[in-house]
Symmetry: C2
Subunit: 238 residues, 2 copies
DNA sequence: CCGGTCCGTCCTGTATCCAGAATCCAACAG
DNA sequence: CTGTTGGATTCTGGATACAGGACGGACCGG
């Protein structure tokens, strides 16, 4: 159980950064690879050759291989029986499965926060993110909206400091990103989504675990309908 | 390079065993280590020295290190910033967190099976397991019951062949095992638990996703109450 | 007698090297 | 022209060797 920090653009506010870390090179490499995957430098389906990547990151193959195993278990890459690794391509069944897991995980996160109680500072930060998403949705700025969306969910997930939940950081990142990148519809879904975020935050802040979980699950289910199934109507039961 | 071929006591039973796999030594080592942890050879808190383990498994440190990273991400071991790894000790807060995740995961598994439809052969196999648990509960054979309990949940989990769910195998194993090992009460809880399993299986077989998920979550929550919190009464809200 | 510091040993982390296997290309036969 | 088969290249997997830091114990000072 280590950090799995990820190159968070603006979410990396909580790091204690005590004194000095022995810097496990495999961890650093994993972070680098995640960044390369998320920013599109390593597109889905890309073949990952250990020697190239090692040279690219300026390390040897040994720690790189460990990082590949990590990303494999995280579900970010997949390794063929022959040993060839490639960036996972979330489409069709794989996307559905990813969102199935995200639904219950996000629901759990919301429930735990509602039960634990949301600190005022974090509430303000999340509210600010939702405001940002609102603005972005009004302007139809999908990229900006996507960034806020990812920040919102990651802030909740990472903030819990839950040892069994940290590993879902990559899942949340990749699915959040892919969801709205593929979203072709207008600003309608964006507005609705922003409202859903605000509702989730409200339920958490009000300390209503059941409601928070329900709203979070519905939110993910709605996103899945629009992303994976393509332009579904909202309101159905999961 | 003999991989202590005689090993693998019981872990390599479920594999499809298509033709022949190149046998990634790190995977084999991970399985071996899981077995050693689950059967108590490596008790919680044990310090894991790479050189010793490598010699013990008859491999070098390179693949062993990869397996340690895997087990780390799975939550079965934890690695200090200095690099020292030790078997995770599920007690107190860690146990609560583990069961929180298990609750939603097992709920998702039940829901997916109910939606997908349970093949008759698998239904029979699961029913047989529940029967075995019934007998064990009547006799108060906790060990036998525990085995059936783990089999039940693992059969459901692994049978889905869900790419994002496989990684919870260790979580289910360790929590299932620990739950009933610590259970000191009489056969009452065992009987109730067996009934819960039967109800879950019934809901799945009847194709009722919502009910199956609800029952599965309640089941885990009940187990958690008796295990972690010690002798709680059922019926409370999660 | 107790505390602090220095030193030795062990362990982890990383790099390099070797062997086996898969893949790809090309030449050849039908 | 196409399918097949042969070989050479290349890649991954595993083992070994080396460097840096951590931990523990003994020695010295108070």
């Amino acid at each position: 159980m280590k950090v799995t920090s990820g190159g968070a653009p603006l979410a990396a506010a909580t790091g204690p950064t005590l004194i000095a870390r022995p810097s496990r090179l495999a961890e650093v490499a994993a972070d680098q690879l995640r960044t390369l995957i998320f920013d599109g430098t390593l597109p889905p389906g890309s073949l990952l050759r250990q020697e190239d990547l090692a040279a690219r990151l300026g390390i040897s193959r040994t720690p790189l291989r460990e990082s590949l195993r990590l990303l494999d278990l995280e579900g970010l890459i997949e390794t063929a029986p022959s040993g060839a690794s490639r960036v996972v391509d979330l489409n069709g069944a794989a996307a559905v499965e990813a969102m199935e897991v995200r639904e219950v995980i996000d629901g759990l996160v919301a429930r735990l926060w509602a039960r634990r109680g949301l600190p005022a500072a974090r509430n303000r930060a999340l509210a600010a993110i939702v405001d940002q998403m609102d603005r972005a949705s009004s302007l139809g700025d999908k990229k900006e909206y996507m960034a806020g969306n990812a920040s919102f969910h990651l802030e909740l997930l990472r903030g819990l400091e839950h040892r069994w939940l940290d590993q879902f950081t990559s899942l949340v990142r990749v699915s959040s990103q892919a969801t709205y990148l593929r979203l072709e519809s207008g600003t309608d879904r964006l507005r609705l989504s922003a409202a859903e975020h605000r509702a989730i935050l409200g339920a958490i802040d009000a300390g209503r675990p059941e409601e928070a979980e329900h709203l979070a699950r519905e939110h993910v289910a709605n996103a899945a309908r629009h992303w994976v199934l393509g332009r579904g109507e909202q309101g159905g039961t999961a």
